[in-house]
Amino acid sequence: MNESILNLGLCEIADEIRSRRVTSEEVTRAALERANAVQPHVNCFISIEDDAALQAARDADMAIRRGKPTGPLHGVPLAHKDMFYRAGRITTGGSRLLHDFRPQITATVAERIAAAGAIWLGNLNMSEFAANPTGHNESFGHCKNAWNQDCISGGSSSGSAVAVAARACFASLGSDTGGSVRLPAAANGVTGIRPTYGRVSRYGILPRTWSLDTVGPLARSVRDCARLLRVIAGPDPMDSTTSAKPVPDYEKLLDGKIDGLKIGVPENYFFDGLTDEVQRCMDESLRQMASQGARIVRLPVPDPKLLHQLANLVSQVEAASIHAKWLEEWGDDYPLILRTRIESGFLVPAVAYLDALSARARLTAEFVTHVFGQVDVLLTPVLSMPAPTFAEITPNTSGDVMPMLARMSRCTRPFSFLGLPALSVPAGTSGANLPIGMQLIGRPFDEALLFKVGDAYQRETAWDLLAPQFSNPR
């Protein structure tokens, strides 16, 4: 019974709870059991809030019995990257250095999912300070891949992807600066979206890079992501970068039809150096979409390497500013990867930083004009290889850090600089049974089209339904 509950998606379980075929307490209890069972295997949680979650679930059930209005997430247990503030509660940002940090404010996204009725199951592991794409964490232990615990989970929203894949929660909020939703989603076989910069409020989240940070959902399916994004998106007077553009009802626009849509495939950069398995999955995904009526268009795209470097520049400088005081105070206690990548930021001339930001509007307009003047969405891999093992990728020295970062985020970071929405969708598995993901990129604020394409693909494939197996998970 519990197993079958946990294999439902977010939208399905919300319908089950609303229609009283199952109670939120039953669902939450099952999710908590699962979370506690898989935690020793994958280390995806920093804290599990058993008692508070069960009480909230009982309250949710009571509200239904009394006929009170229910939101789109009513009674559904979710868990989130440990960087969303809730006033008075500890938010670690994945670092032992913040073990007693109790913010005095609540993140707008946390308020919105609570208003929509979600149950907060616990706080999820993450790369320390959201600052590496691998999931390494020296403070709370590394979060391990849901499919093979010798492999990295991807990061920085490592726990989010792993907990969703492991059926320990139905969806999760993560954050994406250079790929932090998309990379772990791809590495663990779940769906995740980096929304357009400005689509979702960043108020009350631990900052990584102000100019690039976004909040995005990870879930089992495109439809589940669509529901969660609609809940959290929209203008926020507390975040001046949020857009006033209306938020579409994404779910209503999912009709399974992509005939006539043009899917762009970059001729340069993104498909360089792929492993054979990733290349095969991309080819098969394109064939699948073509069989559904999409037109595949190959085209060159404006220099992604430059965009990658500019994103690095902005990220390093802003991170240096954010971490300067802590770094001075804690010094060698800082994790190697973060310390290494921040250090350059202290030395970059202010003019170079402003040059990069000044060029951003123009480079975005050029990219959008060139690419989306020819195609409706762009398709790339998320990672050029399946998730590597810890032994393969863990840096030994500072000299190992930057090449590792560049390799991990080469397909995701260029779109972060442009601020474009990007959806990571499971698109196959490797011979070693590790998930492989594809990335769909769209025009600014056109998340609806990405969802439409991703959902149409998922209706005809089953990659999003695969679940990792654990020995003795309960």
Binding site: A361, N396, G399
Partner: protein, 86 residues
């Protein structure tokens, strides 16, 4: 076989890199009161050169009206199918 290469020994800087390594050492000492060892100074200098070169490339086509805050407005303009003026 891993496709990730790790450093196994300290790479010695080329002649032309010496100036930027010296600059990095100086800035690190002045701005952060930190003395870098040879290897780290060389790594940072390489990173620094790449970043500054990217900024220089990007700036080549910037003009004085390109203030960073235009970015959010341009994102909005691009969303409706219209293309923002370069």
């Amino acid at each position: 076989m891993s496709s990730f290469s790790k450093s196994t020994e300290t790479d010695m800087p080329q002649q032309g890199e010496a100036a930027s390594i010296a600059l990095i050492r100086l800035m690190s000492a002045e701005l952060r009161n930190t003395n870098l060892d040879d290897r780290r100074a060389a790594e940072l200098a390489a990173d620094f050169r790449e970043i500054v070169a990217a900024a220089r490339t990007a700036a080549r086509n910037n003009d004085f009206t390109d203030e960073p805050s235009r970015y959010l407005a341009v994102l909005s303009q691009l969303s409706a199918g219209g293309i923002a003026p370069p």
